[in-house]
Each structure stands twice: as C-alpha cells, then as structure tokens.
Symmetry: C2
Amino acid sequence: MPDWDAVRYRRFEDDRTRPSHELLARVPLAGAKLAYDLGCGPGNSTELIIARFPEARVIGVDSSPAMLEEARHRLPGAQFVKGDLAVWTPEEKPDLLFANAVFQWVPNHPATLKRLFGGLASGAVLAVQMPDNLDEPSHALMREAAAQGPWAAKMAKAAATRGGLPEPASYYDLLKPIASKVDIWHTIYNHVLENDRAIVDWVRSTGLRPFLDALEPGEEDAFLESYRTRLAKAFPPRVDGKVLLRFPRLFIVAERA
Amino acid sequence: MPDWDAVRYRRFEDDRTRPSHELLARVPLAGAKLAYDLGCGPGNSTELIIARFPEARVIGVDSSPAMLEEARHRLPGAQFVKGDLAVWTPEEKPDLLFANAVFQWVPNHPATLKRLFGGLASGAVLAVQMPDNLDEPSHALMREAAAQGPWAAKMAKAAATRGGLPEPASYYDLLKPIASKVDIWHTIYNHVLENDRAIVDWVRSTGLRPFLDALEPGEEDAFLESYRTRLAKAFPPRVDGKVLLRFPRLFIVAERA
C-alpha cells in the first residue's frame, strides 16, 4: 500500500482527535514513566499523551515513514520509531500502551492485543480505539461501488482488507483472565460534514485507500463518482444542507492484573 | 407513580454518573453564572456541575420530593426546586440547561426541548442525555414478561409509558435552525454486573418501575422471576462468570445561535 496521505489526514484533525481524547480520559493512571503511542500517525494522539503525562517518556510507533516524519516535526521532544504492530514488542515494560485507530489494520488483531497485554506489568493499561464502521452506509457503499464496475475483479481483495470487529463480549473474554478490569464501549459519532463530497474526502485517507490503491491510473474519477452518487442517496441533506456521517468506534481500556 | 427509590438508585452511582461526566465534558462553556440541572435526582449530576462551574448559581429541578430531599442533604449549598419539565420554564435565562436521564420520561420531549432551547440567550447551551435502550434485550424482555402472564392486561399501559427515541438526524433538524452548533452522539456502555439478578436490580429503580407499579400486591415475585429467567438466557455469563449489560445512551449538546 502506498504511504498515507498525512496532509489530507490532518484536515479532519479535530473530529479525528476526539476519540483519542475520550479514550485517554478513561485511562485510570495517576502518572506514567513510559507510554507508547501505537499507530501514532502524525502525532495528534502522542501530543495528548504528553499533555496528560508530562513526566513520562512517550514513544510513538508507526509503520509509515511519512507519518513519522510529520510527527517528529510536530513534537521534536518526543521519540518516534518505525514498527509493524503484528510483530512489535516494547523494549521496556510500559505503564501505558495507547493505540488509537490502528489495530483494525492488523491481521488477527485480537491475538496481537492479547500478546501485548500479556507482556505488561501488573497495573499497566492497554487502551485501544478502532473504527467499527464496516456495516455503515459509508463503507457498505464503498464495497458496492467496487463490486459494480469494470474494476470489480481487482477490487475484491481490497474489499477483504479489513474484517468486521468482534463483539465487545469477545474482547472481554479475551482480556479478562489476565486483567483486573476491562471496560469496553462504543461511541457512535454523527460528524457534521458539508455534503457527500466531504464524506468521500473523509474516508479517502483511511477506509477508501485499499480500494483506490487497487485501481489502474485513470479509473479513480469514475470509481469515486460511482461511490459519491450512492452516498448522495444514503445521506440526504439535513435542515441546514449539511450531512451527518454516522461513525461508530469501539473503545477498550484494560488494566493488567 | 410512587416516588423513586433514592437508596436503590444510588447503589449504581459510579456507572450511572459516568454519562453525566461525559456529557458535561462536551459542554463548550468557559464559565457560567446560572446553570439548571433538570431531573437532578439525588444530586449526583448537580455536584459535577458545581465542580465544573464553581462560580455559578446551580439550581436542581426534579419532580420527586424524595430525590430533592436527598439532593438537599447532599449539597446543602445548592438550591433545589420541585418542577415538572413538561411545563417548567426557568425564571432567569441560564447559561446552561443540563438534563441527564430525564427527558425520556417527558411526553413528546422533542417539543419541550425545542421550547426550552428557544428560550435560551445566544451562546447558552442545552446538554441532554437519555437512555436509548428500549430495543435492548434488557427492556424487550421486560415487555415480553409483562405480556405473557396473568398480569398482561394491566401491564399494557406500563409497556407504553416510554416510546423509543427519534433518530439523531431528527434532533439535529429540530434544533439546528436556532443553533450555532448541534453535536449528537450515542455511547453504548457494557456494564459489568454480577449476574442476571443484578440486571433486575439495575433496571428496577428506572425502566422497570412502571411495570412493577401496575402489579397487584403479591404478583411482583412471580413477574420478576419470569423476567429474570428470560434475562438468564439472553445474558450468558462471561469468562469470569459476570454478565455484560449493553446500555446505549443518546447525547445532545446544542449551542444557541
């Protein structure tokens, strides 16, 4: 997959940073010496962790060199390292593993979460947020547009890039045997966006990427127009002409026993 | 309806106060001179509002004399008044109308929300949270137990006490024409409870009340057992023997234009 579009991603920084805020607010630690920000992206969440735990060493981990470069530019005082979460292991035992909007991209992520949580010391915290939106119109229509066009064959793999998330009870059963407490919740945001084109822009730097990457040069405009036309029907304008993008996210905060 | 069971309600104070915390965290006010806590109950949410706006006059409003007495005992410095939200109007224009878990009981509450929001000055905030759980097994099974027993006839009215909530888009269209901003989200908590009996205890002081109030003396045990048996099937014990009570809540924060 080509590298992430760091500039486009930052256009939606406020709405996108809110889940990090809300996840961090539920981390039950009075202080921290060492915290990792897994899938740190351009450092939005890293900045929040530093503000919450100013005394901590905070290390951001990401697989994208472009994101790491943005993050280093933004937070020259923090440390950023390249890593693939499927195999990554912290060098020292941290007080906090924070992972906002990244584990949905890790194949069989429950096993990875269990491995990383198992490696924590007693009292340390794993805090995870993942979008849980594959059944939403924004994503179902992406797959529909992919399946109904000259690009259908090569899109099949992209549509299978991410599977839906397991139920909260499944994460509870996974982590509770080695946890003192596991708190799991969903928040379903309704982002106020200008119109259907803004929905395309929103998902373009994230969920839409595997689809766009599978297209031949020159096919992108037609695919995006097919997708946008479907969005226009599913997201009628509200009283002020704007659209509400429903966006469910899953949150997990587990304390190691 | 008999008065609310203030003692039972407070047993679940932490889990129940969390939505107030999260609602208040989204109120975009730097300060406040006057705030009303509508449906203040025993004062849990009033206490949070006072902590957030220590300089404000905070007035709790509730229809239950027992709850108001509890609240006055808890917060001797605050002011508490009896009121029915369907007709209540603030005496002075407040900076904040805060309403946690009360408007679901007000008939045709959207009209009341619109009336109260319309009466606010520019820049003031309406912040509302309502349980949105009538389609959850915890509540569907309540209606099922009510419909299948010797008590079915007299329970019909209780089952109709509350209607389901409108969609987020509906509240957006209702408030946006006179708002500078409307933020609407759901959070679906998964409360960790000991067992199915604990679920009965949880809903007993709230959603189950209209059903229990409709029963003849002596029928309560049989009805509760019928309900609990259904819960036991719908909420299998997790890996640690506990059950997860899925509990969706709707949040609205609107700023008056």
